[in-house]
Amino acid sequence: MRPFKYSNASGPAAAIKAVTANPTARYLGGGTNLVDLMKEDVMRPSELIEVTRLKFSAIEKKANGLSIGGTATNAVTANHGLVRENYPLLSMAILAGASAQIRNMATNAGNLNQRTRCTYFYDVNMPCNKREPGTGCGALHGINKNHAILGWSEKCVATYPSDMAVALAALNAVVHVEGANGAKRSIPFAEFHRLPGNHPEIDNNLKHGEFITSIELPPNHLADKSYYLKIRERSSYAFALVSVAAALEINGNKIKDVRIALGGVAHKPWRATIAEQLLMGKEATEANFKAAALAELKNAKPLGQNKYKVGLAAKAIVRALEGAMQGGTYGAMEAGSTTTNQN
């Protein structure tokens, strides 16, 4: 690891000022991704400002919904009573990610700032436009079975790794940030992460030095019918091949509100707006779910090794919606579930 200066932030203003002043300084939260990337020499900050002791860890009801602190850990967030009761989709998504140890360390702000796990990004001997703009994309014609099928560009086919962010996309979360001199702004979740376009080196629309103080979850009527489905190569502690955050509100027998977001398929959490629009006002039937899923995936452009993801994502959308309709309880929709194996 390269040498770096380290300090504990004495307060939010001082921390933001310090990072803003140094273009190669970074905030350090749980470090679960950043410290690893520094060991791999992928990220080379000259200075780290530790922020987990700043007072941004509250999870509390506010006028416009539930506010989740940027420095609250993933574990605390997933298990908070208000989150579990009102936004079970978020709890399920967080708990689907990483391991108990990592969730105990990782902060919510850090989760949104984590980098792709594309192996070309991680290997400093490989070309990667995200790590070193202009060097090319090794994955485009390389080993790309885990890569994007939607929204990618010739410059980058990486996927965004977070589960939490997929739920936040479906929940229409708002990211509250603070920059130098107390400048605050709010970023709707759909505008937080970016598609790669010509600048895959930029993951999201935060400006350098801007600090995520909280994430706001607007009220909804989706808690009764929410489900996070994650499909991966082993049953736990692996990144998603495809994941789906699904939530519904039913009025009579018609869909009043529906949210579908996909993980593992694009450079950002992919909100399935085409499928959502098709389902609004319709009955919640398998046939309608299927038609909507296929319509969404019609625009998919698979790479050499990931054609499987197109069919998988379509089926996953249907299963996740059905899981949500069944009350979002684990087990109902899990293939190979062993819930009866109590010995």
Binding site: M1, P3, F4, K5, Y6, N8, L28, G30, G31, T32, V35, D36, K39, E40, L48, E50, T52, A75, A78, N79, G81, R84, E85, P88, S91, M92, L95, A96, A98, S99, A100, Q101, I102, N104, M105, A223, K230, S235, S236, Y237, G327, G328, T329, Y330, G331, T338, T339, N341, Q342, N343
Partner: protein, 262 residues
Amino acid sequence: MEERSTFPDLSEAERKALEELMPDEMGEIISSGIKRRHFLKLFAVTGTSLLAANLLGIEQLMARSVPIEEQPPVLIENGINVSFQVNGSTQKLTVDSRMTLLDTLRERLGLTGSKKGCDHGQCGACTVIVDDKRVLSCLTLAATCEDKKVTTIEGLAIGNELHPMQASFIKHDGFQCGYCTPGQICSAVALMGEAKNGDASYVTANVRKKEKSVKLSNEEIRERMSGNICRCGAYPNIVNAIREVHGDQAVAQVWQFADGTI
């Protein structure tokens, strides 16, 4: 008497036991402390049944923190003064900002129980408990530990009395090579607290139903322990070991010595 002071922790009984087992090595053990290769030699000279009788006492001896000789002061680039508790005792150190908690425990404090498996947060062998939460010491910078309380595998037993989770891992043969075991046990100890707290997991049937404490099924234990990889595949026995401590009821031991004793 003078040479004994270099390893003052050795009790008369331990000294006598070691002298009987490895007379040739005693001079070195007394002058520089017991080392891993002495432990390995014990395996060779004793055979498993004799070793089993001595095992717990010897393990206690091995688990002691032998103070690593302080090097003459050198200039540490980006040195950070940090003070934190490890297994109940306060440690004040100056560390390079790059130093992980794992390396600090192993290289500066001589606590080699926590293991460096992958060093990238993928295996769980380095799991320790910081302020009652299980975390990965390989991804924790030591500089971030100011005022925190760290518990490692060496801090779980009270004197000669093993922590119930340690005893259960031995009873259920929850390991083969043992490399992942300190991390598995620390992780399992913290898991007991999470279950008592009613925390949910990905396989919890209904996350909206918040219970005071959670009764863990085998599937729940497997999901919640998925951050600890065991290359030997001792998972069924690890689950049994945890289930016994969690359930507070006996689970049948699956192994015995060749002479039929357990």
